[in-house]
């Protein structure tokens, strides 16, 4: 069975992929027509963005998704705060909370998580991110350098698991100390959250191996993705483990393929192609990744279609990864089913705007997936 998650934007949303303008949340200047906060009488209506996150979570729950990924960056709202806030207004929705080991102490993470597991009935899921070091890390007050980061992640996950127990545990690690860490019995009895692990290099696999339930990747063209799976499998096999895979995918799915491409074409028409060609575009890194899969210049929207229905220009239309699927509901579902055949065990899907697209994908794509699992907490 395949767990299909949705995504909750933690820093606003656009109302359409056709125009790059954030109209939901307060990350862009407020104006008439904006939502959460809305606008009236010349000022914001005071509705917190949390209300919109709640709407998206409920939409995903109603539409048949098992839960949603809640990313974490310096400019986003915090996913632990948001997940805790929304536990009581959802029933089956699993909160996949992104965090880095550098943010929290293993025992603190265990206490926080076990409490949320108890309240939610086991609906917390981790997206563990190791982070790359450098200025972004020093923003967080995290000085551990690149090479030691996976070692720290491994130690963190180890101590997190060990402190999830009723008997006091002590440990003197390289990065963390546990002194009589434990959980009260009823909290220690809570299920340990599933771990979606971001990173699939040999160093990552060595670190995550004993702990990762899923290796999470962004969508890439078929060959690149299956090569990655093969490498992770090989490295895991050497350690005696069988890995599972999750892929995060943006979707533009419509009744007809032509309608889907029209959405993307509209958005693409706003892109400065000269700037893009000269590498001056803001998202040149993401696009460069897409262009490594194609020949020749990018003149038309379809030039970034690296293989049927896999389009590499998403980062031009909204913040985030490059590749996503464009097509009719049948075509998109077929690609997703194909990925399952290639070894994918879970999906994190996304579409702009997240609230409305959750219904569309839930109405028309999910029913066409061959193996998606029912909603409910993991036991």
């Amino acid at each position: 069975m395949v767990d299909v998650y949705w995504r909750i934007g933690m820093h606003g949303d656009q109302s359409t992929l056709r125009r790059r303008a954030e109209t939901r949340g307060d990350w862009a200047p407020l104006a008439p027509g904006h939502l959460a906060p809305g606008w009236g009488d010349g000022h914001g209506d005071g509705r917190p963005y949390l209300e919109h996150m709640a709407d998206v979570a409920r939409a995903a729950e109603i539409s048949g998704f098992v839960g949603g990924l809640m990313p974490s960056f310096p400019f986003t709202d915090d996913p632990f705060a948001a997940a805790a806030s929304l536990v009581e207004e959802t029933r089956t929705f699993r909160f996949m909370v992104a965090f880095q080991p550098g943010f929290v102490h293993p025992w603190g993470a265990a206490r926080l998580s076990a409490a949320l597991q108890q309240l939610s009935g086991g609906r917390l899921v981790y997206n563990v991110i190791t982070g790359g070091g450098g200025p972004a890390q020093r923003w967080w007050g995290d000085e551990v350098e690149h090479d030691r980061r996976y070692a720290r992640t491994a130690e963190f996950l180890d101590l997190l698991r060990r402190s999830w127990a009723p008997r006091p545990q002590s440990a003197d690690g390289e990065f963390y100390r546990l002194a009589d860490a434990y959980l009260p019995t009823d909290l220690a009895d809570q299920p340990f959250p599933e771990i979606y692990f971001s990173g699939s290099s040999p160093a990552a696999i060595a670190a995550a191996g004993p702990f990762a339930d899923y290796y999470l990747s962004w969508l890439e063209p078929h060959t690149a993705l299956t090569e990655k799976f093969t490498a992770v499998r090989a490295a895991s096999q050497a350690l005696g483990r069988t890995p599972r895979f999750a892929v995060r995918i943006d979707i533009v799915s419509r009744d007809t393929e032509a309608e889907a491409w029209e959405v993307v074409r509209d958005g693409f028409s706003g892109v400065d192609l000269t700037a893009l060609a000269e590498g001056r575009d803001g998202d040149s890194v993401g696009v460069a990744r897409a262009r490594s899969f194609i020949d020749g210049p990018v003149r038309d929207v379809r030039d970034l279609e690296v293989e049927p229905h896999v389009w590499g220009g998403f980062s031009l239309l909204r913040g985030g990864p490059s590749f996503g699927l464009v097509g009719s509901h049948e075509q998109v579902a077929e690609r997703l089913n194909g990925l399952v055949d290639a070894g994918v065990d879970a999906f994190i899907l996304a579409g702009v705007p997240h609230l409305e697209e959750a219904f569309r994908v839930g109405d028309f794509v999910l029913p066409r997936l061959t193996h998606h699992s029912p909603q409910g907490a993991l036991s």
């Binding site: 509705r47 939409a59 609230l355 569309r360 109405d363």
Partner: protein, 360 residues
Amino acid sequence: MAKEALWYIVPSDGAYPWEPEGRRDVDLDYLTQLAASIDSLPYSGALFATAHHDVWVLASALAARTRKLRPLVAVHPGLISPVLLAKMALTFDDLFDGRLIINVINGDSATLRTFGLELAHDDRYALAREYWTIFKRLTAGEIVDFDGEHYDIRGAGSTFGALQPTQKPHVPLWFGGSSAAGLDLAGEVIDTYLSWGEPPEQLVSKIDALRQRAADHGRSIEFGLRVHIIARDTEREAWDWADHLLRVTSPQTFSWQASRGRDSDSVGAQRQHAGHGGRVPDHARDIEVSPNLWPGFSLIRPGPGTAIVGSHAQVIERLQEFEALGVDTFILSGNPLLEESRHIAETILPALDLPIGASA
């Protein structure tokens, strides 16, 4: 300037919910989200349509999960005692801070007969006049004695105890009905008259006639426009969607609706039917009755059958024209209701310059 916009709630939703393929599962969770969505947007309330759910039960459930949403609740006069109805209305307002609006429905004789009420068209209006007079006095807090053709009541309201009116002067009554008897009723007892989407020149004569009738009774009356919206970035996309709706609708749906339109004794339904005679056009635009005004939904489903179809800018223009004619209230809808409530709030409502919190 328009005073407010309402959205629409009916326990059946999807891209084209009149066909099984276009319908999504609707349960309390979904309806709650729909209501919460409307509550969070610059709508003052929602029209609760009569469908397979009883609207009172549905409106109560959703009022409990919202803070400002005013439900416009459909009531057929005569099916329950006006005194009991007044008690329900006062209770609702007591629990939910005076948010109730009653949508007076006179319906058609065939439907009422299924509830055991046998009344010819004009008799319905005679009963309605008595019914709503009693209701208004009770929801204004009076103890009512009434001696009429249909009702003979003594001491109504004397058992309501601590139940006091929340809204002044009484729970508002909205109504839409195009027959002469309906217009007379509106002039006499109704606070807001609702019209389905009609070409502006037709609407303006209706508004004038209503104003005159109300003035005859020493009253004033407000106007609401109930219209469906298909708004897209471009005009072409909007009409493509209208064409798409005609394509995905089954022959059975068309023929069922055609027979309903033909046989109804509702003047509104007859008028709409006359617009196209029940014939399904090859192209949606073939029946565009005035710029961007499309009666296509009357081919598909009962109730208000007119949509404004066009680019966002065109839809705004049409609504502003209606505003200029004296429309105070818009009741808008689009499918799916949840997604379109946001889409319209983002693209159309800002241009209507509605006062925020007009209702709450």
